[in-house]
């Protein structure tokens, strides 16, 4: 189930979106959404915004892991203008660094108001000078030379902090405009869907104490494929120990010769099964469904 482009999670490599948010809480959630998406897709997030910690003198630089923060001037934004060559160098370095960490691409998340200078036209008339040559032409990030693996570009702006004209001017530079509140909605925390070929259930989302009852009820009436209970968990992003234990208990209660088959478990489910010594109690299928 691929994420729709109407959410922060659906912005993929080659896409360029503007997401406006309101206040610090939404900003933190947006950033968390980008890191979660990057972790799921095997990408690295490069945040560019003012206030990035540059470390104390003498400290080793904090290079980050799945995500890192770069101060605007280090990313090529100086005096409100973009040095595209400098930014390209940074992106190429980041792509190489990501590859060393086993990550295959970048999500570039820029706090646009922090890096672009407010022009007199914007301040006075709410229009950015030089815009109007196509809907995305105004965002300097849209004009970057092509990279072999283009990053996903997400420009952010705080509508609680920016004056209306300034916000609208930044927004008009983008073809894809999203509002944080719906863009952060990923649907229900847990979806349990019937699937066929083989018959079974698909679990999508996150499983924890708040919804383990939903899983328990679904397992009671889950269709069997012959003597096996198949669960497709490739889109189950999180499961706590209690949820994994429930699966193992269901497997243990099945009659001899019956099996619980778990398809494509993610890192968290796999780690719990391995570290709790339960991996042998059910059948793990790494490959595809059917």
């Amino acid at each position: 189930m691929s994420e729709p482009l109407t959410t922060a999670f659906g912005v993929a490599r080659g896409d360029h979106a503007w997401i406006r948010y309101a206040g610090e809480d939404e900003r933190r959630e947006l950033r968390a959404a980008q890191v979660l998406t990057a972790a799921e897709r095997g990408e690295r997030v490069v945040f560019v915004h003012a206030g990035a910690r540059r470390g104390r003198p003498g400290d080793a630089p904090v290079e980050g892991g799945q995500a890192t923060v770069i101060a605007p001037r280090d990313a090529g934004f100086a005096a409100g203008r973009l040095d595209a060559r400098r930014l390209m160098d940074v992106l190429e370095q980041q792509i190489a660094h990501a590859a060393r960490l086993g990550l295959r691409g970048l999500r570039l998340c820029v706090e646009l108001a922090d890096v672009l200078q407010e022009t007199p036209d914007v301040a006075e008339h709410g229009r950015a000078r030089g815009e109007g040559n196509g809907p995305t032409g105004g965002c300097p990030l849209a004009a970057l030379p092509a990279l072999p693996r283009p990053p996903a570009i997400i420009c952010h702006g705080d509508r609680a902090r920016l004056p209306g004209p300034r916000l609208r001017a930044l927004e008009r530079r983008h073809a894809l405009v999203l509002e944080a509140e719906p863009a952060l909605t990923r649907g229900p925390q847990l979806c349990v869907l019937p699937v066929h070929g083989p018959a079974g259930l698909r679990l999508v989302g996150e499983l924890d104490g708040s919804n383990i009852g939903v899983l328990a009820r679904a397992l009671e009436t889950a269709p069997l494929d012959g003597r096996d209970l198949h669960l497709d968990v490739r889109e189950l992003r999180h499961a706590d120990v209690a949820a994994v234990r429930l699966l193992v208990r269901v497997a243990a209660a099945m009659p001899d010769g019956h099996r619980l088959v778990l398809h494509a478990p993610g890192p968290v489910v796999s780690a719990v099964l391995r570290h709790f010594g339960w991996a042998g109690r059910l059948v793990l299928e790494e490959g595809g469904w059917g």
């Binding site: 972790a39 892991g65 799945q66 925390q189 209690a242 890192p267 968290v268």
Partner: protein, 315 residues
């Protein structure tokens, strides 16, 4: 002695012959009694034991000790895993020589605490374990502590009570040094009851501080597991910061009674227990401290960052 009793003996030796005078009779007696036997020691000692056992050597399981549980919680899991492979044996024997050379002071402390904790954690497992200490290479202080963590000492086939033995809770509590203060740039997150949102925040901050991929997601899951069940008026908090080579995380649980110092070392079962989160955290982290305090308990986790993991992969 109960048939299922855990027997834990130390042995300080200073030469190959002295080592074999203890090891060979221990293994031989196990084989004579049809008890499964595991020898996990240094490569040199493995060769000595194999050669000395001759044709009986093939009836014994061997493991190079450096790889039989690289950290104390994994060592406990490895002992239990091997024990569970012999469910029909009432008693089993393990000769387990820890690795001490090249360890930091913090690691030595953790391994000594584990030696003591085994007396509680492996109770009623039917394991007879002898832990050899090579006085030629092991620091005298570590050898002295072997007398405090093993109720009995062995020399050859002679067993004597260890007069310095200290009960495990006292030993571990006595070794608890105060945690170093958090740095000023630690990021603090307060849990407000939405576990999913808290987990996402932990993922984001940990990703910034140096974790990635499976390790990032599993670490966040372990921290979130420690917060599971937290409710009431006093809310737990999480603080995260980077140190050279690692990410450090404090989980402050403003609860109630102080935790059992061995919580999370007992083997997990299919029945839920309070130590599940600590079991997972102990398995995936490099080091873990549990410190009771006046206003609750602080659990401090240390996990290597991606640069260390990268070096470990030999990239």
């Amino acid at each position: 002695m109960k048939r299922s009793a855990f027997v834990h003996q130390g042995c300080v030796y200073a030469g190959d012959e002295e080592f074999l005078r203890m090891a060979v009779p221990f293994v031989d007696e196990g084989l004579r009694r049809d008890e499964p036997v595991l020898v996990t020691t240094t490569p040199a000692n493995l060769d000595l034991v194999r050669a000395a056992l001759g044709r009986h050597a093939r009836h014994v399981d061997y493991a190079e000790t450096a790889f039989f549980g690289r950290r104390p919680p994994q060592r406990v899991a490895a002992f239990l895993g091997w024990r569970h492979r012999h469910p029909r044996a009432a008693r089993v024997r393990i000769l387990a020589e820890p690795v001490w050379t090249g360890r930091s002071a913090r690691q030595v402390e953790a391994w000594e605490c584990m030696e003591s904790a085994l007396n509680a954690v492996l109770a009623d497992t039917g394991i007879h374990m002898i832990c050899p200490y090579d006085a030629r290479t092991v620091e005298p202080e570590i050898v002295r502590n072997a007398h405090r963590t093993h109720p009995h000492m062995v020399a050859g086939t002679d067993v004597s009570d260890s007069p310095g033995y200290v009960e495990p809770v006292s030993f571990v509590r006595g070794r608890e040094t105060p945690l170093r203060d958090r740095p000023g740039d630690a990021v603090t997150l307060t849990f407000t009851g939405d576990l999913s949102r808290m987990r996402h925040a932990i993922v984001m901050e940990s990703a910034m501080l140096g974790l990635a991929g499976e390790q990032l997601m599993t670490f966040a899951a372990a921290v979130s597991e420690l917060l599971t069940g937290a409710d009431g008026d006093a809310l737990p908090s999480v603080a995260l910061w980077a140190r050279p080579g690692e990410v450090v995380c404090d989980i402050h649980l403003p609860a109630t009674t102080s935790l059992d110092p061995f919580i999370g070392l007992h083997p997990p079962t299919l029945d839920p227990r309070p130590g599940d989160g600590l079991w997972l955290a102990r398995q995936i982290c490099d080091h873990l401290d549990v410190r009771p305090g006046g206003d609750g308990t602080t659990i401090r986790l240390h996990t290597p960052n991606v640069r260390v993991a990268e070096a470990g992969r030999g990239v």
